[in-house]
């Protein structure tokens, strides 16, 4: 059974972040960006005004018995309301302005936010998360979800299976958020916030899956013609999985996999990461040290953040997890963004290798180095 399924509810996160926002509240509504969500009180003169306010709302916080509502709406919608003759007033609600979005340390460390600021957000790219599924109505993912496929189905008892590929574990949703959580005013942001994420469910609610189901998931991704297959899973050598890896590789899919969590061993990269067709990713901590749980070996190609990673979780929530599973989708998101920007199968991979940052670990631990998304796009990152 999964023990971390409780997660942190979205509401708790919003509460928690409200405190930190107070520090920027002096800058007020005027400082919010057009896409930021702001919380406002709107007084209206008529039903038309009321409708205009509700139409503008992303969330309705409160409806008063008098002619006013409290809503959360994009900043850009506020101007329209202010100018409407049907609206009596628009005021900021207390000291809460833009709802915060957290920049997880891993996204920051690989300088993905610098790529975002330069417009490299993965728009048009396709990344398949080959995992336990993806929470199909997570507010930080839903807008980026494409198609889905279930080699094994979401468990009926889970009670929240809207699709067969829905996530009854949480792991796949977490990985999806690392690769491509939406850049909005809530939750987290992923490496490639405009990428299209495809849920490929090959692992069950316990986090395990058969070689055949995993091979079928990889096969499906290849048949769809997607850019990247992200494999935050591992185990022993499987001939069927290797056949599928070659099938996908030969059809131009960039495959990325977790190195494994076997820790203290020295040459123990698990499969499918150990195949030469696959980019094997080890895990680092926030101080750039090698994560104690991470597998290492000559197959390691890149290192990426994997310890205490905050990302999306089932039930619309968020959670902090550790593992090479978390390192893998950092690279998958970056590979997807490069493919979206026109880099081919081979050139995206060599770009990731050649721009990785040397963090001073042995090659069996860091491969070519730590993922550097900004450098991969040719932006100066300062390696901060």
């Amino acid at each position: 059974m999964l023990e971390n399924s409780a997660g942190v509810s979205r509401r708790d996160v919003l509460k928690a972040t409200a405190g930190s926002i107070a520090t920027v509240s002096a800058t007020g509504l005027a400082a919010a960006k057009p896409e930021d969500t702001v919380e406002i009180n709107v007084g209206f003169k008529s039903d038309r005004g009321r409708s205009a306010a509700l139409d503008a709302a992303e969330d309705v916080v409160r409806k008063f018995p008098f002619d006013a509502v409290t809503i959360r709406a994009p900043k850009k919608a506020v101007t329209g309301l202010e100018n409407s003759p049907q609206i009596r007033y628009v005021e900021e609600n207390g000291e809460m302005h833009a709802l915060a979005q957290t920049l997880p340390w891993g996204i920051d460390r690989v300088d993905a936010e610098i790529a975002h600021n330069n417009g490299d957000t993965g728009w048009g790219g396709d990344v398949a998360i080959i995992d336990t599924g993806i929470d199909s109505d997570h507010p930080d993912l839903q807008g980026n979800l494409g198609t889905g496929y279930a080699a094994t189905s979401c468990s009926y008892w889970y009670g929240d299976c809207r699709y067969a590929w829905d996530d009854d574990n949480g792991h796949g949703t977490h990985c999806a958020g690392i690769a491509g959580a939406i850049d909005n005013s809530e939750g987290v942001v992923g490496v490639a916030p405009d990428i299209t994420l495809h849920a490929v469910k090959v692992l069950n609610y316990n986090g395990g899956g058969s070689y055949s189901d995993i091979a079928d998931g990889i096969r499906w991704v290849a048949d769809q013609g997607y850019d990247v297959g992200s494999l935050s899973l591992g185990g022993g050598y499987s001939s069927a999985v290797y056949d599928a890896v070659q099938y996908a590789y030969n059809r131009g899919v960039t495959l990325v996999a977790a190195a494994g969590n076997d820790g203290s061993c020295t040459d123990c990269v698990s499969y499918p990461a150990a195949h030469s067709e696959v980019i094997a990713v080890s895990a680092t901590s926030s101080d750039d040290s090698f994560a104690s749980f991470s597998s290492q070996g000559p197959e390691i190609e890149l290192a990426a953040p994997g310890e205490s990673i905050y990302s999306t979780y089932t039930g619309g929530g968020y959670d902090t997890l550790s593992g090479t599973s978390m390192a893998c989708p950092h690279v998958s998101g970056a590979a997807g963004a490069l493919r979206a920007a026109g880099y081919g199968h081979g050139s995206a991979r060599s770009r990731l290798r050649n721009t990785a940052e040397n963090i001073g670990l042995s090659s069996n631990r860091q491969g070519y180095g730590l993922l550097d998304v900004a450098s991969a796009f040719g932006h100066w990152s300062g390696d901060n």
Binding site: F293, S322, S325
Partner: protein
Amino acid sequence: MTLQSSVTATVGADRVEFEYTVENVGNDPEDLQFRSGLKADFAVLDGDVEVWRASYGRMFTQALQTETLPAGDSRTFPGAWEDPDPGTYTVVAELNTTGPDAEARTDFSV
């Protein structure tokens, strides 16, 4: 370490069912930090030769998961070997954690 472990093998018509129990016999809670979606594994040995392993044929999520085992509590992991050949075997059960493997073994005949 204050974990005590045991494994039982129940031989049925066409399968052997295993039950692996890890008990915290100490006075303090113990954290079990599992390395992956595979929390515990069973291997069946014929002499020194491994003839079956529960995790064989499967892959797992590669995220750590922590469970706290309160003092005096135990945690049981089930497993089943389908269609065994007749013979005398040893089953070895162990945790897949960052800490001790809490290995337990027992002999059985089919």
